[in-house]
């Protein structure tokens, strides 16, 4: 059990670290930018649109890093040996999960135990980022680098828990943004598509978001209208649903797990494509085009598996967000203890 938790911690930490790592400059365009043509013809809805409806959780992909290990270069799939290691690890995790009793010498951790987490399935893909061809997030623009440096400067001498505003938008139960809502994380990766004539709705379990996407070609609202999830318009290209989202609030969410990573600007244009590639498989791609933040557009691709047994449960995040005041009260208690210690020291 503890081994399982520690293993999970290490894997998840590696995933998070890969998101945060400084990226390398990228040269050239990728042959992987465009989705592979699917020969599968999806069923049609009564009004003629391709049927994409269903539950498409990203759970299978939890262990796939967003960015590729730099050592893998432009290799999009792991080696046979690496895949065997992933399979062996998954088997160990499954075995640990079956242990019914906590061992007497089990270690006690401050982090969440393994039974809180969902587990992925061994995958051959080396990263979710497929373009640039090295599978890594492009370099930040000079403007974005300066903004990041200023943000870091502003945090100098400021504790991590001085106000609720020090917490992420995820911790504050506000929004993980469009990409933060779909990139696979440790749990609650439910995503559901529901269609009606002229509209597609996409529901995200955590944190309780629904995107309603008109398909009638109406223009986006004026540029002063902005939101965390942006404004989406959709159209069909063959059997592929193409969604263009604009009108974002800038400098809020990033394109990382749970909305982390470098925040995108208000000018980002996000192009998502949903293509069914088989009766129970969907290819999802998202191209991030934000010239104020990244030196070139970049693309994430995820194979999503239909899982009718993965219903979305309500995620009324703020209902029980006790952790917010627990963290703030904890910080105040530490400050008080430090003050007391300082006074005692002076006497």
């Amino acid at each position: 059990m503890r081994e399982h938790v520690l293993t999970s911690l290490i894997v998840l930490s590696a995933v998070l670290a890969s998101v945060l790592l400084v990226t390398l400059p990228v040269i050239g365009q990728s042959p992987d930018t465009k989705s592979k043509k699917s020969t599968y013809t999806p069923p049609k809805l009564p009004w003629g649109d391709p049927d994409l409806q269903g539950l498409w959780p990203g759970t299978d992909l939890i262990e796939v890093p967003l960015q590729r290990d730099a050592k893998a270069g432009e290799r999009t799939e792991v080696t046979q040996e690496e895949f065997a290691q992933r399979q062996a690890k998954a088997e160990r995790t499954a075995e640990n999960d079956k242990v019914a009793y906590v061992a007497k010498d089990s270690k006690v951790g401050i982090n969440p135990p393994g039974y809180w987490l969902e587990h992925g399935k061994p995958q051959k893909i080396t990263s979710l980022v497929v373009d640039p061809p090295n599978g890594r997030i492009p370099e930040l623009t000079e403007q974005a680098k300066q903004k990041a440096a200023q943000a870091k400067q502003a945090k100098q001498g400021h504790g991590p828990n001085e106000t609720w505003e020090d917490q992420s938008l995820y911790d504050r139960c506000i929004s993980r943004g469009v990409m933060g809502s779909i990139l696979p994380v440790i749990y609650n990766n439910g995503t559901q598509i529901v269609q009606g004539p002229g509209y597609v709705a996409i529901r995200y379990e955590m944190i309780h978001e629904t995107k309603i996407i008109p398909l009638d070609g109406r223009p986006h609202p004026g540029s002063n209208i902005k939101s965390y999830m942006g404004d989406s318009r959709g159209h069909w290209e063959g059997n592929t649903l193409v969604i263009e989202t604009t009108n974002f609030l800038g400098d809020k969410n990033g394109i990382g797990l749970n909305g982390g990573g470098t925040p995108h600007s208000a000018d980002m244009v996000l192009t998502e494509k949903w293509t069914r590639t088989g009766p129970d498989m969907m290819e999802y791609t998202a191209t991030i085009n934000d010239p104020k933040t990244w030196v070139r557009p970049w693309t994430i691709r995820m194979p999503l598996r239909l899982n009718p047994e993965f219903p979305l449960y309500e995620y009324a995040c703020h209902e029980g967000n006790y952790a917010m005041f627990n963290m703030l009260k904890g910080a105040r208690a530490e400050e008080k203890a430090a003050e007391e210690a300082a006074k005692t020291g002076k006497k």
Binding site: I10, L12, S13, D97, S106, P113, A323, G330, R332
Partner: protein
Amino acid sequence: MRKILSVSAALIGLLVAVSPVRAHHAFAAEYDGKKQVHLEGVVTQMEWINPHTWIHIDVTEPDGKVTSWMVEGGSPNILLRRGFNKGSLEKGQKIAVDGFQAKDGSNRANGSNITYPDGKKLFLGSSGTGAPADPGPNK
């Protein structure tokens, strides 16, 4: 009924050194890694709330005094997917909890290990997501 034990600083140091899982929030900001607790008590309430569940227990001290504790549990959504439901943990059930106490010294703890008195895990895991149609990680 109640035992609060301390463990060696070395063990705690080892655990704290492990990079944190990004759960809904930073547990190291909520709980004090120097205040390990072992609690045995009876369930008075389980709050099925997001982002995380909370189990309320009454712990009886050796002198008969009863103190109430709140123990932070997993996301209700995943517990439900793993087959744990509203009827799984009823009022009056005896449980044991190992974890760390809140930094502000109040009677709150994280639930690193939550078991029945015989050591059986309260939330037994399963392969994959635990959903009935999920074939597990090896299929």
